[in-house]
Structures are given as structure tokens and as C-alpha cells.
Amino acid sequence: MRRADVVGSLLLLTISLLMLLVVIPSEVSDGQWYVLSPYAYPNAICGALVIFSVLLLAQALFKKNHYEPEQKKILSLFQILIFVLLVALITFGVWLISVLGVLIGGPILIMSIALIMGERRLWVLLLSSVLPVLVIYGLAIYVLKTPLP
């Protein structure tokens, strides 16, 4: 975890500094204020983030005995690939639902995740993808009276 903490703290430090120096000055609208400038609160939080990121970095670099013996790898390349694939699949599924609607896109999303996970029984695939979508769709439309795409 030590190496992960070094990378993580550097990443956090970069993000916090970017927030302080670039994002907050450009993304906070200035207006008439009396007590606290609109920049003050997010600046204070990001300032604290910078401090604690540096402390985390210092701990990871200089306090080796704080850490257990280094594990092989927190995330392997294979895991990262699976993760990226899954996120891409879910994002595509959401886009599909927005285009085709929940009644068609929903079962496709569920079925494709189940297929990727190794489910091959056709009846399980059909039942687990169609039934929940119908139940939830009915619940949203008729009970909650909220339209779904």
C-alpha cells in the first residue's frame, strides 16, 4: 500500500493545487458578498486537502515502518482491464437505455453483464433480465408515477 499511497497522495496534491490555482478562480462566480467571499470556503477545503496530501506523502515516503510488507500489486493490469471493460459496458448500457428505453435496454444491460460474468443458462438469462425490469418499470410508472426512459 506504500507505493499506492505515494501515487495517491501525488495525484490528490495535483488535483487540489489545480483546484486552488485554476478551477476555483475560474469556476466560482464573483458577486456582491458581505461576510465570506464565495472563494473562501472551497479555497479553505482545497488548502486543507493540499496539507493532508503532503502529510500522507511524507508518511508514505519517510515512515516505512508504518506499512506492512509491500503486497505484490494492489491492482493488476488484468483487473484494471476488467474494470475499464465493465465501466464501459455499463456506460454503453445506460446510453442504450436512453435510446431504446428501459424495457428493451434494461434486459440487454442485465443480460450482457450476466453473460460477461459467465452465466450461460438461457432460462436464467431470460428470467433474471426480463422479470426485474418489468417489475421495476411497473413500480416506477404505476406506483411512483415517475416516467422512465
Binding site: 499506492a4 499511497d5 495517491g8 490528490l12 483546484m19 478551477v23 476555483i24 469556476e27 466560482v28 462566480s29 464573483d30 458577486g31 456582491q32 458578498w33 461576510v35 465570506l36 464565495p38 470556503y41 472551497p42 477545503i45 486543507a48 486537502l49 493532508f52 496530501s53 502529510l55 500522507l56 508518511q59 515512515k63 494492489i74 483487473q79 476488467i82 474494470f83 465493465l86 465501466v87 455499463i90 448500457g93 445506460v94 436512453s98 428501459v102 434494461g106 444491460l109 442485465i110 453483464i113 450476466a114 460474468m117 459467465g118 452465466e119 436464467v124 433474471s128 433480465s129 426485474p132 421495476i136 413500480l139 416506477a140 406506483v143 411512483l144 408515477k145 415517475t146 422512465l148 426512459p149
Partner: protein, 499 residues
């Protein structure tokens, strides 16, 4: 107090209310029984389905889910040695050996009765403690509230997770996210990146469902792929009739362990951030130490199951004490419940008793009903829940992904909310993998607006002059406690938990 209960009686003792509480407890039990899924996830996914319900039913339903989840997590811990929630890790120590001895049904009964006893007594403690504490809290001004919030976030960061720095970074990240939206004073957009959808802030459910539910699904799919999750249901020895029974004598013999667990659960539950896991560990250690046969622990001692499960369930109502008293959530589940309160137009905290007295006592009554419903659902559904854990991940996880979509969509953000949820799922996945505290993050996010408001008010009152703190001893105490937490729990000074 009796008058308030009588006034709420008619609202609570209706078929509809009982049906929703039973449904909530059953769903919670089911989710708790499934390894890897937890009650906070269930609450996040179910909040959107409560939008059309009256506030009393909605909150009681969600509390039912919370209670059911705490009790249900023992099922997989006992049957397959995989705790449904971290707080049931301790239950595996004696629960699973009981299963191996053919006493699985007996272990499940001990866990259920311990859960119910812990739950009922802690609910009574909540009812007794919340109002006096709320009366005290009414006298607190913005300066005191600011210092309490600073202490709470620091303390939760200090005690949750393995690293104080990561905890505090998570809390700050939550506070920063809560700052997105319209500025309180100027009314102009702040960090919205031109998205009108962000003017009201980032939707709570997009954050909660993304970081809690969807990220957890991603982790579970990852585990399922790598085969870390082999269910061992088929290897369980079939219980004999004798081994299934829990006699009255045995039950009475287990009562001291249950009461000790309940006491620990209540005390630990009230303190923000400590959580049910620590409660069940401490309770188990206490009961083992006090036992005449400590050598039996770890080899299937029912007292071990009773101690951990009573503490686990007792901590559920106890975590609501600071929510009702000062509007301070101490766990992810209570932070989400607090979010549900706000979505139903209620502000948790001392003024809830003043403004919605009948509702508060209605919720208390609903909680007692939920405790007994827990007994009913657990007793009737014991064998059903035992079988549910054998349902494959390939069926459950894809459906949960779809539920995440619906949950994020229903909050009102539409597809924007859904895409935000996916972003937070990615964030949550890496937070989980690299041990950044979820509790502090969610608590920071939920408390963000309140923190900013009270800090602003405190600055106005004090004219931004720190010297005025001298007139606010309560604030000084909490600020000193915050500093102490930082010193005590930061690198090198962190105390070790008992083995």
C-alpha cells in the same frame, strides 16, 4: 412523552405501515444475508422508491431495511463463513464452527434472538436519550455547532479506516463536493462547470449509489471472476432435529452475553464513526473474558454468536441518537437516512422534536414495531434466507446494476444523474481498493451544507474574531477534542485495537 406516543399510535398501527415495515425488514434481511451487499447499499437503492410515501412510512421503511440488514448479515456468516457485512465478521468465529457441527439452525436462532434483544433495548435507549440530548442541543449556537461538526468529521476520520490522513482527505473531499451548487451568500453558481443540473448541488443518490452500490458491484464482479467467492452451501452438514432446537434453558443462559453485547452496542453506536464492527469485536472480547469456558470460544460457542450479534443490532438504533439529538450521522447508513429525512422535507436535529413531534414519536413507535417484525420475519423466513445465499452472483449483481440506474434516474437528475453515478462508482472503486474511508466521505458530503452555513453564521456572530471563542466554552471543548483526535490518531499515535 406518553401523550406523544398516543398521538402517533393511530398513524403507526395501520395495515399499510405494518406492511411497509415488514417489507423493509424483509428486504434488509435479504440484502444482509447476501455476502458483499450491505444495508447502506440497500438504503441508497431504496430511497428513490420512498419519494411517493408519506414521511413516516418512508423513514420507518428505511429504518426497517437498516435493522433487517444488521440481523440478516449473520446468515451468511454462520452458514458459509462469509460475513454479509463487516460487523458480522465476529459472528463467523463461532457461528461457522456451529454449522460444521450440524447446529446451523440453532446458531441462526441464537443470532436472531440476540439481534432482536439488542435491537429492542437499543431502541428504548434511543427513545429515552434522544429528547434530553436534543433539549441540550437546542441551546447551542452556530459557533458551538461549527465546532461540534469539525470535531465529528475529525473524529470519524480518526477512527474509521486504517489511516487518519486518508480519512480526513475523504471527509474534505465530501465537504468539497457538497460545496458545488449555488453560493449561499451571492446565490451565484459555484463549481458547476456550466451544468444547470448542478445548481442544486450534486444529487445525494448519485453520490451514494455510485460510491456505495455500483462500486461495490464492480468489486464483487471482480471477485466473482477471480473465484474468491466460492459458496460452500453444499458442504454444510444437515442439522439434526436436536441440534436445531434452542431450549429455554439455553436461551436464559445466553441472556448475559446478549445484555453485555447490547450495552457495548449502545455505547459504541452513540459515538460517531466507531460503528458496529468495533462494537461486535469489543462485545465478543468482553463476553469471552468473562466466560468460565473461554476455551470454547472459536469452536462453536453460542455465547460468541449472541455477543457479536446483539452488539451489531444494538448499534443500529444507537447510531440514530446523535441524528435525532443534534443532526449528526455517525455511519454511512445513518448519513443516508439523514439524507432521506431531508428529501422528505425534515431537518434532523433538535428542532425535529419541536416542529414534527408526532412524526418523531411515530418513527420511534415504528422502530419498536420493526424490532418485533425482525423476530417474525427472521423466524418465518429463516430457512428461506438460508437458501437465498446460494443464488448465484451472476443473477444478483446484474440486477443490482439495473437498480442503480433506476435509483439514480428517479432522484430527478435524469440521465445526468445516472452518468454522475457512474463517475462516482469509479471514484468509489478506487477508494475501496486504496482504503480511503467511505464513512467520512459520505458524512462529510451530507454535513457539508450544514457545516458551511454554521461556519458562516459563526463568522458573522464573532465578527471573525477568534477571541470571542472565550465566551463559548462548549465550542472550545469540542475544538480541543478535535485537536486531540488529530494528535492521538495521526501517524504514530494511533492506538491499536484489541485482538
Amino acid at each position: 412523552m406518553i401523550d406523544y406516543f398516543l398521538a402517533a399510535f393511530n398513524d403507526v398501527f395501520t395495515v399499510k405501515m405494518f406492511a411497509y415495515i415488514a417489507l423493509g425488514v424483509s428486504i434488509g434481511y435479504l440484502v444482509g444475508a447476501l455476502p458483499g451487499m450491505n444495508r447502506a447499499t440497500a438504503i441508497a437503492l431504496l430511497i428513490p422508491f420512498t419519494f411517493e410515501m408519506p414521511a413516516l412510512i418512508a423513514i420507518s421503511f428505511l429504518i426497517g431495511v437498516n435493522k433487517g440488514g444488521a440481523a440478516g448479515s449473520a446468515v451468511s456468516a454462520i452458514l458459509i463463513n462469509v460475513p454479509g457485512e463487516p460487523s458480522s465478521v465476529v459472528t463467523t468465529i463461532d457461528g461457522y464452527p456451529m454449522t460444521l457441527k450440524g447446529e446451523s439452525q440453532k446458531a441462526l436462532k441464537v443470532a436472531l434472538y440476540a439481534s432482536v434483544i439488542g435491537d429492542v433495548l437499543a431502541t428504548i435507549a434511543l427513545i429515552v436519550l434522544a429528547l434530553p440530548l436534543a433539549k441540550l442541543a437546542v441551546g447551542l449556537g452556530p459557533i458551538e455547532i461549527s465546532s461540534i461538526l469539525i470535531f465529528a468529521i475529525t473524529f470519524i476520520a480518526a477512527v474509521s479506516g486504517r489511516s487518519f490522513y486518508k480519512g480526513i482527505i475523504s471527509g474534505l473531499f465530501g465537504l468539497l463536493l457538497a460545496a458545488i451548487g449555488l453560493d449561499l451568500e451571492t446565490g451565484l453558481p459555484r463549481l458547476t462547470f456550466g451544468f444547470i443540473e448542478l445548481y442544486d448541488g450534486i444529487p445525494l443518490l448519485a453520490v451514494a449509489i455510485g460510491t456505495l452500490a455500483l462500486s461495490e458491484v464492480l468489486v464483487q464482479i471482480d471477485k466473482a471472476w477471480r473465484g474468491n467467492y466460492a459458496h460452500k452451501v453444499n458442504q454444510i452438514k444437515a442439522p439434526s432435529d436436536d441440534a436445531s432446537r434452542l431450549s429455554m434453558r439455553e436461551f436464559i443462559g445466553l441472556l448475559p452475553a446478549m445484555l453485555k453485547g447490547t450495552f457495548v452496542g449502545i455505547v459504541i453506536g452513540i459515538l460517531p464513526g466507531l460503528g458496529a464492527t468495533l462494537a461486535s469485536f469489543l462485545s465478543y472480547a468482553w463476553v469471552k473474558k468473562a466466560s468460565k469456558h473461554p476455551e470454547a470460544f472459536g469452536n462453536g460457542a453460542p455465547e460468541g454468536v449472541a455477543a457479536s450479534e446483539s452488539a451489531d443490532n444494538a448499534s443500529v438504533p444507537a447510531t440514530l441518537v446523535p441524528v435525532f439529538a443534534i443532526g449528526l450521522p455517525g455511519s454511512v447508513a445513518t448519513a443516508l437516512l439523514m439524507g432521506a429525512f431531508m428529501m422528505h422535507g425534515l431537518t434532523p436535529g433538535p428542532f425535529l422534536f419541536r416542529d414534527n413531534n408526532e412524526l418523531v414519536y411515530g418513527i420511534f413507535l415504528g422502530m419498536i414495531v420493526a424490532s418485533f417484525m425482525l423476530l417474525l420475519v427472521g423466524t418465518i423466513g429463516q430457512r428461506f434466507f438460508s437458501r437465498v445465499i446460494s443464488v448465484g452472483d451472476t443473477v444478483i449483481l446484474p440486477v443490482i446494476v439495473f437498480l442503480c440506474f433506476v435509483g439514480a434516474y428517479l432522484e430527478g437528475g435524469g440521465l445526468f444523474g445516472v452518468y454522475l453515478m457512474i463517475v462516482f462508482a469509479v471514484v468509489g472503486y478506487f477508494m475501496k481498493k486504496y482504503d480511503y474511508s467511505f464513512v467520512t466521505f459520505v458524512v462529510g458530503y451530507v454535513l457539508g451544507p450544514m457545516t458551511e452555513l454554521s461556519v458562516r453564521q459563526a463568522l458573522i456572530i464573532s465578527d471573525a474574531n477568534p477571541a470571542t471563542l472565550i465566551n463559548h466554552p462548549v465550542a472550545i471543548v469540542f475544538l480541543l477534542l478535535a485537536v486531540f483526535s488529530v494528535w492521538r490518531f495521526s501517524a504514530g499515535n494511533r492506538p491499536k485495537l484489541p485482538n
